[in-house]
């Protein structure tokens, strides 16, 4: 079942200007792989060479930062909403 993923403005060039796209899978990792298949080039913007989430990219599952859940292994289910949000610089 597809899950909605919110895409931030700087990455929308890769998603044909769509701000919400759909992906499927059982974990965040699956979702990222699913996104990469549909929109090649998206994964390297979100993950580094080792496949780890980039330090200044946050992924929220229903408003919770996945870093404080199980990271990329965090399970997802139908109806969940995922947001990719670059960290806010400042201060």
């Amino acid at each position: 079942m597809p899950i909605n993923v919110r895409i931030p403005t700087p990455l929308r060039k890769l998603t044909k200007d769509k701000d919400v796209v759909q992906a499927s899978g059982a974990t965040i990792q699956d979702i990222i792989d699913s996104l990469e298949k549909q929109y090649p080039g998206l994964k390297e913007r979100i993950c580094d060479e080792r496949g780890e989430l980039r330090r200044f990219v946050n992924v929220y599952l229903n408003d919770e930062d996945i870093r404080f859940a199980q990271g990329k292994g965090t399970p997802v289910k139908d109806g969940d909403e995922i947001s990719v949000i670059p960290a806010i610089a400042g201060g």
């Binding site: 980039r54 330090r55 990219v57 870093r67 670059p86 960290a87 806010i88 610089a89 400042g90 201060g91």
Partner: protein
């Protein structure tokens, strides 16, 4: 096809380009702050080889006593047009405080008397506004916990720039008035600093304003390095054993480390092992908590609860780099509670005659803890970075220092008062 911006590496002058701290991509010297590729923060890159050929101790010493004596290492292209008098604050040998802390050699880097707004923020703002003007901006702005707002307002006023400052609405009266008086536009936000910052990011994207700590941030942040350069020069061109630095967003501690590394790299100071320690208040200590837990990921504090409002940033942008700084230098982090912060303010005032704001009390209290834990040895030299003046946060110590005893203008009343006291 138009080249991606990160392919551009403009090379002229002492500062050459902006560079992503994460992936190393280069960007032109514009009002940019985030890497378009990986979202990492951009930092100023310099041609150290060129700087080494021109910058000597003698040259620095021959210049006026302000932070611009290190101008080759500050990212503007022409001469500073804002804040030429900023910096070179006193480095004070604090023997009476040292005795109370159980140390031999303590120094106070006293930015409570920085010009013109009595906090270290005048350093970053001097660079940010000078650079903003070079980039053609006419309106400057910031998100602030108070000190930065004061500094942007004052320096914009003297520089003839229009300004907007955004602050949490519940700041100390002195810090709000200390912006209003300069005729700036003060916008109080019902929310935490992090919410103010988020709003400012949105506003910065919408208007063509120079937000000193958003789109001008790579330039702005470099201004903090001057505090580190001054410490080295004022110690007689040597590095201390320890530095204790207050942390809010974690930028200052990172830049002090950078300044020390740069002076070593340029041969301006001999290499020497030093430790940089960070201080936050218990009620908002995301960086200290991560450091103590051995974690690299910082858990944001959503509702800061402390009298130390100037450090109350729940989601510190440079937290990761602050932790790296402490780890790389063998430093540690401490988070004294509000009670200890007030005691720290009073100790500094009573021993050295320096009235610091709450961040200063946090730094003194953290230093005491570091000494107690044996992380700073009695024989080692310590510099405490005292970053803002206590008159700005009077609420923190009001009713905690006693009160004036009032009498009539008569000698017998004074004598009676002395008798009562003795």
């Amino acid at each position: 096809m138009k080249k991606a911006r990160w392919d551009v590496k403009a090379k002229h002058g002492f500062f050459t380009s902006l560079k992503c701290r994460e992936c190393g991509r280069h960007y032109p010297k514009e009002a940019l702050h985030v890497c378009e590729f990986c979202f990492g923060p951009l930092e100023v890159d310099y041609d150290y080889g060129l700087i080494k050929t021109v910058l000597t101790r003698a040259k620095i010493a021959s210049r006026p006593t302000n932070m611009w004596r290190y101008r080759e290492l500050l990212p503007i292209e022409g001469e500073p047009t804002v804040g030429f008098q900023v910096g070179f604050t006193p480095l004070v040998r604090a023997n009476r405080l040292a005795k109370r802390l159980g140390l031999r050699e303590v120094w106070i880097k006293n930015d409570t008397v920085n010009y013109p707004t009595l906090s270290f923020k005048d350093r970053v703002v001097s660079v940010a506004l000078s650079r903003a003007r070079e980039l053609g901006f006419e309106i400057v702005a910031c998100a602030s916990t108070g000190n930065l707002a004061n500094s942007v307002a004052a320096n914009a006023a003297s520089g003839g720039l229009r300004s907007y400052v955004f602050i949490p609405a519940d700041l100390e009266t002195g810090k709000v008035l200390g912006s209003l008086v300069y005729g700036t536009n003060v916008i109080g936000i019902r929310g935490t600093y992090d919410e103010v910052n988020r709003l400012c990011s949105e506003i910065a994207g919408k208007y063509g304003w120079a937000f000193v700590n958003v789109n001008i941030r790579p330039y702005y942040a470099e201004g903090s390095k001057a505090m580190g350069y001054e410490i080295i020069e004022q110690l007689g061109w040597r590095l201390p054993d320890h530095v204790v630095v207050p942390m809010a967003g974690g930028s200052l501690i990172t830049k002090i480390h950078k300044s020390f590394k740069e002076f070593v790299k340029l041969g301006l100071v001999d290499e020497h092992r030093y430790s940089i320690h960070g201080a936050q208040a218990e009620g908002c200590a995301p960086i200290v908590n991560a450091m103590k837990a051995g974690a690299e990921i910082i858990k944001p504090v959503s509702k800061p609860q402390t009298i130390v409002k100037s450090l109350a940033i729940g989601n510190p942008a440079d937290g990761f780099y602050a932790i790296q700084t402490m780890k790389q230098t063998g430093g540690w982090a401490e988070n004294p509670n509000d009670e200890d912060v007030v005691a720290g303010i009073r100790l500094l005032a009573e021993t050295e005659g320096v009235f610091a704001e709450t961040a200063g009390g946090t730094t003194v209290a953290a230093a005491q803890r570091l000494v107690n834990a044996g992380r700073i040895k009695p024989s080692e030299s310590v510099v405490l970075c005292i970053t803002g003046h206590g008159l700005k946060t009077q609420e923190a110590v009001a009713n905690r220092c006693g009160e004036a005893r009032v009498i009539g203008p008569h000698l017998h009343e004074f004598l009676a008062l002395l008798d009562r006291k003795n």
